[in-house]
């Protein structure tokens, strides 16, 4: 029986001094075990929504819960159940891959032998075992991207937020990352994923939502969304139908 992983009710965010609303009255429910793709052009409000869900910024109005926790009532439990993989390489360049992971793992309460074993096993799973004692600053983009992913999942979160996890990597690294994410999903992790790679999202996500101008315009399985649009054959067709063909410079 599936349970609710994320429940959002009328969530809005207007930055101080801004003349537009970044996220408007957004409501959404994501069930445990889903891979939810949050899609939208630049400036649609995806990052603002994720920032609120991750506790980095506070909403202007509305409420949400993750795994039944709210930031107001149980911030520590909520954060413990979350994993965050930012788009930028959020790593210490002068530390080795192992040192980075030991540090970030310990910030989630992992320690001792268990932490050591988890770090080594994770690095091995993404093909980085032989590089574990090399400084991250010497890594290629693909290797950094893999370490970046591991730093967010070492503590085995129930819900994982991924912001463009495969941007700027070669096909080999991309495949390794996607396989690893599928394995996590198989183990029960709920994944919320943003990407501009719509074909990747179509193949990977169990459900997607398309955002534009701070609103969630459509949500459903990729197949449902494609079927609902008359001329659409792919998720990209649906995306363009909803968001238009104009440039989105913000």
């Amino acid at each position: 029986m599936s349970t609710t992983a994320i429940h959002i009710e009328n969530l809005s965010k207007q930055y101080r001094g801004a003349d537009f609303v970044a996220v408007q009255n957004l409501s959404l429910t994501i069930q445990s075990g889903e891979i939810f793709g949050l899609l939208g052009p630049n400036g649609a409000g995806k990052t603002t929504l994720l920032s609120m869900l991750c506790g980095i910024i506070r909403p202007t109005s509305g409420k949400f819960s993750i795994n039944g926790y709210t930031y107001e009532q149980s911030p520590v439990q909520l954060k413990q159940s979350l994993g965050v993989v930012p788009q930028d390489f959020a790593l210490y360049p002068s530390l080795t891959a192992r040192e980075n992971l030991l540090y970030f793992g310990s910030m989630y309460g992992l320690k001792g032998r268990k932490l050591e074993q988890e770090v080594i096993a994770s690095l091995d799973a993404l093909g980085l075992a032989t590089f574990m004692d090399k400084r991250v600053e010497t890594f290629s983009g693909g290797m950094k991207r893999r370490v970046n992913l591991l730093a967010g999942v070492l503590h085995r979160p129930k819900v994982l937020f991924l912001d463009e996890p495969t941007v700027g990597v070669d096909v080999h690294s991309k495949n390794a990352i996607m396989e690893y994410l599928k394995a996590l999903h198989f183990q029960g992790t709920t994944i919320v994923y943003t990407s501009h790679h719509l074909s990747e999202a179509q193949a990977f996500c169990t459900r997607v939502g398309i955002m534009e101008s701070g609103r969630l315009w459509k949500e459903g399985t990729p197949e449902q969304l494609i079927a609902e649009e008359e001329k659409a054959q792919t998720l990209e067709d649906v995306f363009i139908e909803i968001t238009g063909k104009g440039l989105r410079d913000v």
Partner: protein
């Protein structure tokens, strides 16, 4: 505790893998300490009485000349020169050398100074004796007919010499001349009252003064010299300079996204800052002990005297620790508020320099104008320096330095609180 230990470990790894950072934190302050102490040694000596060469042009060559030479030679802070290149010094040469600043003082003794003083005193004594009709000596009538012109001892000072130095020399010579005159008067009376009188007249002044220090004996250490001032002062400067790398460190964490990982983890911002606090406190203590080692062991090899710690090592460490705490607070505040390294680095460096200047690191507070002396009370570096002075110069204990320690703790708590509140407020944008 485990998270804190890991945080400290991470901070230390980041620090020790940054060679440039190590140089800024440990090597630059040592170079600064050595260079500034060497440079300032001359200034402090001129203020506080280092060894000064004095040119003596002696046209007298009699008893007064002998007494003045004895006096100058007895003073360990003065070096008496009566010849240059094996030739006696003329008044014109002495005047020129002092004017050029080669020497700070020349003393010119006029001709017949001793003889004329004796004659002058003899005349006065004869006058007094005749009033009491002790003598019908015919010489009395004869000396009254030959009045003696007053004599002048000329002093040439280097125009750049400190006023305090001039005053000290003038007072010393005035006192010396008074002593010689008094002694001559006593001797003349003794001779007039009868050669057979066997009266021992005391050489010493009847009324003298004694400067009593903290130990009930001497108080010579009431003002710091270059070493006593610079070791604690530049140690504080080095400690507060961690504001720059610490604020850069925090800005970097924000820029590279590692701060975001911490913010989204179940680790509080306070714990994150605590990791930095402990690490940079360790750094400030290492800096302090390095500076101390240089002051004690390296200074004697470069012509400076060794820094004296005495039995105050523990108290000095306490001051360094709490000064480090205040510095960490400032670094955290600047790092939290600044958005870029371009903001934090120049601002942190400028703030440190201003706090050092106002706080008495470059120029001791006691020689600052009174307005600046009052302003200096606002600088945490002045609190630290004041505490160091209390321990090193005035023999103060923990209770004596408590006000400064409390101020340093309050500085840390205030800056940390503002940083945490600012961080919270930032999330409500």
């Amino acid at each position: 505790m485990f998270k804190l230990r890991r945080s400290v470990q991470k901070e230390l790894l980041l620090l020790f893998r940054d060679v440039g950072g190590i140089v800024i934190l440990f090597v630059m302050p040592l170079i600064l300490l050595l260079a500034v102490t060497m440079v300032q040694k001359g200034s402090f000596d001129s203020i506080l009485g280092g060894k000064v060469s004095v040119l003596l042009v002696d046209h007298d060559r009699e008893s007064i000349s002998q007494r003045i030479q004895e006096y100058f030679r007895a003073d360990e802070n003065l070096e008496l020169l009566m010849e240059l290149d094996g030739k006696p010094i003329s008044e014109e040469l002495a005047q020129e050398l002092v004017r050029q600043g080669t020497y700070q003082l020349a003393v010119i003794l006029p001709e017949h100074l001793s003889r004329d003083l004796n004659t002058h005193v003899q005349q006065n004594v004869d006058k007094i004796m005749s009033e009491f009709d002790f003598s019908g000596d015919t010489t009395l009538v004869a000396t009254e007919k030959k009045p003696i012109e007053p004599k002048e001892i000329k002093l040439y000072f280097d125009p750049a010499a400190h006023a305090s130095f001039k005053t000290a020399i003038k007072m010393s010579i005035d006192k010396l001349v008074s002593n010689i005159e008094s002694k001559t008067i006593y001797s003349t009376f003794q001779e007039e009252l009868g050669e057979d009188m066997d009266i021992e007249l005391g050489e010493q002044q009847f009324i003298s003064y004694k400067e009593v220090g903290r130990d009930g004996e001497h108080a010579e250490e009431s003002l710091p010299d270059a070493v006593q001032h610079n070791v604690p002062a530049w140690t504080l400067f080095a400690i507060f300079f961690i504001v720059v790398p610490l604020s850069i460190n925090i800005v970097k964490e924000k820029a590279q996204g590692t701060m975001l990982r911490i913010e989204t983890s179940p680790t509080s911002y306070a714990l994150f800052l605590m990791g930095k606090t402990v690490t940079y406190l360790l750094i400030s203590l290492i800096q302090f002990y390095l500076m101390l080692l240089v002051g004690i062991f390296v200074f004697p090899y470069i012509g400076l005297h060794s820094f004296q710690v005495g039995n105050s090592f523990g108290l000095l460490s306490v001051i360094a620790l709490f000064s480090g705490l205040a510095a960490v607070g400032l670094g955290i505040l600047i790092g939290t508020i600044a958005s870029t390294q371009e903001q934090s680095a120049p601002f942190g460096a400028t703030l440190t320099v201003v706090l050092a200047a106002v706080g008495g690191v470059w120029v001791p507070v006691f020689i600052m104008p009174s307005v600046m002396q009052q302003l200096s009370a606002l600088s945490p570096m002045n609190w630290g320096l004041g505490a160091f002075y209390k321990v090193l110069l005035r023999g103060g204990g923990l209770v004596d330095i408590l006000p400064e320690i409390i101020l340093l703790i309050l500085c840390f708590l205030l800056t940390l609180t503002v940083a945490i509140l600012y961080d919270k407020k930032k999330r409500t944008v």
